[in-house]
Symmetry: C2
C-alpha cells in the first residue's frame, strides 16, 4: 500500500447542483477539510451501524470536530434498517436533539445505511443536506452515487423513497479492508455490471485483476473503484432521474429484486441476487442477438464471484414479484439486456410465456454446461 | 350563481416543469378533459375523506372514467390523517392494488388531504404524478399550491415531507358551498395574509366584501379565491423551495404552528392559529416601524374572522415549541413581520427577552383595547 493517497475527484452535475465525488485510497483524509467546512457550526447526525462506527468512526473525528454538535444514530446492519419505523425513530431523535433545516446528515456505512440515511435526510423538514460516506464496495461503486434513496415495505423493496442528491460522496477504499470476502464479491458484481454494459476496457481490467480484487488487494481496489464510480456518475449526469439510459444500470435487477424478496432479504446479498439476475438476462439476450463470446466472458466473471445457490422458489412466485417491482409500469416489465460488450438496451418486453418457460429452465439449471 | 363557469387558468412554472392552476366556479368541469387525458390508461388513486367523497365524488366521475382502474383511499378528517402510519397504510394498499410508477394520485379534500396525498405520491416508488383537487378555502388559496407536502410527528407538525409539484391544481369554488362557516373563516385568514403582505388592492377588496365572503357568497368567493391563489403562485414561481421570499407566506405561522401543537391539533384550526399568530406578529412589527393605520386594518379584518379563544398555555411552552419549528435554523427563529401594507420582511430575529415579554403580554391580553 502506498503512503501517498491515490484519490480521484469527479464532480457529478445534477438538476439541483453538484455532488462532489471523492474516491480512492485516503479519500476521507483528502476530503476532510471540505467536510469540516460543510459541517462548521451545524448540528451533525451520523447514521451508521455499530460495527462501522467501531471500526472506522475515528476517521471522522477531524471533520466532525467542526460541527456544533454530533449525534450518532446507530441502525441495524443490512436491509433490516430500511423500514419506515426505523426512519421514524431517527426523525424523532433528530427533532429531540434539536435538528434544524440547516443541520447535516452523514450516511456512513453500506448500501442500506446510505438508502435509509439519504431518505431520512431528504424528508426531514422537507430536506436537509447530506453526505454519503460508503464503506462497502457495493455502495462505493454504485448505491451511494446518484441520489436514489429508499426504505422497504413488506410488499416490495425500495417502494418508498425519493431522489436526494448528496453534497458529497466520499468513498475511502481503505474502509474496504475490513469487509469480509462475501461482501467484497457481492459488491464487485455491480462494478462488473457497469463495466460490461458501458466500459469494455474496464471490464477487461476487471477480468485481468479478478484474483487480486477477490483477495481485497488495496491497489487493485483503488484502481477499480474510482473507475466504476465514474461510469455511474456519467450515466446519472446524463439521466438524473431515470427517464432513459439510467435504466441500463438495472441490468440483473428485475429478477435480482424478486430473488431478494423471495428470500426475505436474508438469503442472498443484493449483489449476489443481481449476479443471478444477470445470468438469467444473458439467456434472454442470447435469443435476441447477444453473441456467445461476450456472454461467456461475463458468465465466467460472475461464476468466479460464486454467488450462493438460488433459493427454492417457483417461477410463478418470481413472475408475481417482478410485476410488483417499482420499475414496472402499466405496460409491463421492461428488461435490460446486453446486445454486445459495451452496449445494452432497456425497456425490452418479454412475452409472458417465454418468460415463464425461460425462468423454469433457469431455476432447474441456472448455470448450464 | 351564474350558469357560465367563471374559471381562471394560470400556469405555475417550477424547476421540474409546470403546474396547471384552474380556479373558480366550475373549475372541475373546465379541467375535466385535461384530467381525463392525464388519467387515460393509468391506475388512479383518489386520496379523500368519506365526507368529501360522499358530497362531491360524483364530480370526478367523468375524468376518472378514463383511468384503467380507480382506487378510492379514504382517510380521516383533519390533521389526524397526516401520520406516517397513515402514509404507510396507503402505500401498502397502492402496492396491493397494482400501483406503478406511471400511476396517478388525486388528493381530493382539504389541506390535510393535500399534504398527506402529495407526500404519499412524492415518495411512492420515488415519486408518481399527482393532482391537487382542494375542497376547502384554505387549501384552494394556499395549501394546495406550491408543492409542499408533509406528515406530522408527535414532536412537530409537518416535520417529515418533501417538495412534490402537482401536475394540476383544480379548485372548484362550488365545493366551498358545503363548508361550514368556521372552515370558511379559517380559510379566509390565509387569503388575508397574502393580500396584506403582497397585494394591497386585493386586501381592500376583501375588506369591502368581507360580509359576503363570511356568508359564503358564491360570486364573492369566485372573485377572491383565484386572486389569492395567483399571489401564492407568483411567489412560488419566484422562490420555489423557500430560499427567500416564499418565507413571507409564513406570516403568522411561527406562533401559529406552536399554538396548534399546544392544542394537540384539536383546539384551533390551522387558519385560526395563524390569525392569532398574525395578531402577535403585529405587536412585534409595531416596535419595528409598522404604522398604526395598516395594523389596525389588518387587526379589524382578523377580528371579524373571530378565531376562538387562545388555549391556556404558557409563554415558556410556546417558546420551546417555536424552537422546534422546522423553519428554525441554528441561528434561531426568523420572524415574518409586515413593514407596511404590501411589504414585509422575513428572517427577523427577536431577542429572547423581548419575545418572552411580548408573548406574556399577548397571552394576558391578546386583543388590547
Amino acid at each position: 500500500m502506498s503512503d501517498e493517497p491515490a484519490v480521484e475527484r469527479l464532480p457529478l452535475r445534477h438538476p439541483r447542483g453538484v455532488t462532489h465525488l471523492v474516491h480512492g485510497e485516503g479519500a476521507l483524509l483528502a476530503a476532510s477539510d471540505e467536510l469540516a467546512e460543510w459541517l462548521a457550526g451545524r448540528r451533525a447526525f451520523v447514521v451508521t451501524t455499530p460495527v462501522v462506527w467501531r471500526l472506522h468512526g475515528g476517521d471522522l473525528a477531524a471533520p466532525l470536530a467542526a460541527a456544533a454538535g454530533v449525534e450518532v444514530l446507530e441502525v441495524a446492519e443490512g436491509e433490516a434498517a430500511k423500514s419506515l419505523d426505523e426512519a421514524q425513530r431517527l426523525w424523532r431523535r433528530m427533532l429531540e436533539a434539536g435538528g434544524k433545516r440547516d443541520s447535516r446528515l452523514l450516511a456512513f456505512g453500506g448500501g442500506s445505511v446510505g438508502d435509509l440515511g439519504g431518505f431520512v435526510a431528504g424528508a426531514f423538514l422537507r430536506g436537509i443536506a447530506c453526505a454519503q460516506l460508503p464503506t462497502t464496495l457495493l455502495a462505493q461503486v454504485d448505491a451511494a452515487i446518484g441520489g436514489k434513496t429508499a426504505v422497504d415495505l413488506p410488499e416490495a423493496k425500495n417502494s418508498v423513497g425519493l431522489f436526494h442528491h448528496p453534497f458529497a460522496v466520499v468513498a475511502d477504499t481503505r474502509w474496504l479492508a475490513t469487509l469480509d470476502e462475501r461482501q467484497r464479491r457481492a459488491g464487485l458484481v455491480e462494478a462488473v455490471k457497469m463495466a460490461f454494459l458501458l466500459d469494455p476496457p474496464l471490464f477487461g481490467a476487471i477480468e485481468a485483476t479478478l484474483p487480486a480484487l477477490l483477495d481485497g488487494d488495496a491497489a487493485a481496489l483503488a484502481e477499480t473503484v474510482p473507475a466504476a464510480a465514474a461510469i455511474k456518475a456519467r450515466v446519472v449526469e446524463r439521466d438524473p432521474e431515470e427517464s432513459g439510459e439510467r435504466a441500463l444500470l438495472n441490468f440483473g435487477h428485475t429478477l435480482g429484486h424478486a430473488l431478494e424478496a423471495a428470500s426475505g432479504y436474508e438469503g442472498l446479498l443484493h449483489g449476489e441476487a443481481v449476479a443471478w439476475g444477470m445470468l438469467f438476462a444473458l439467456r434472454l439476450a442470447a435469443r435476441r442477438g447477444l453473441a456467445a463470446a461476450p456472454a461467456a466472458r461475463l458468465a465466467a466473471v460472475l461464476g468466479a464471484l460464486a454467488p450462493p445457490p438460488l433459493p427454492a422458489i417457483s417461477a410463478e412466485d418470481l413472475v408475481a414479484r417482478m410485476g410488483r417491482d417499482k420499475k414496472a409500469r402499466e405496460g409491463g416489465i421492461g428488461w435490460v439486456l446486453p446486445q454486445e460488450l459495451g452496449r445494452g438496451r432497456w425497456g425490452v418486453k418479454i412475452p409472458a410465456d417465454e418468460l415463464k418457460a425461460e425462468l423454469e429452465a433457469f431455476l432447474a439449471d441456472p448455470i448450464p454446461g
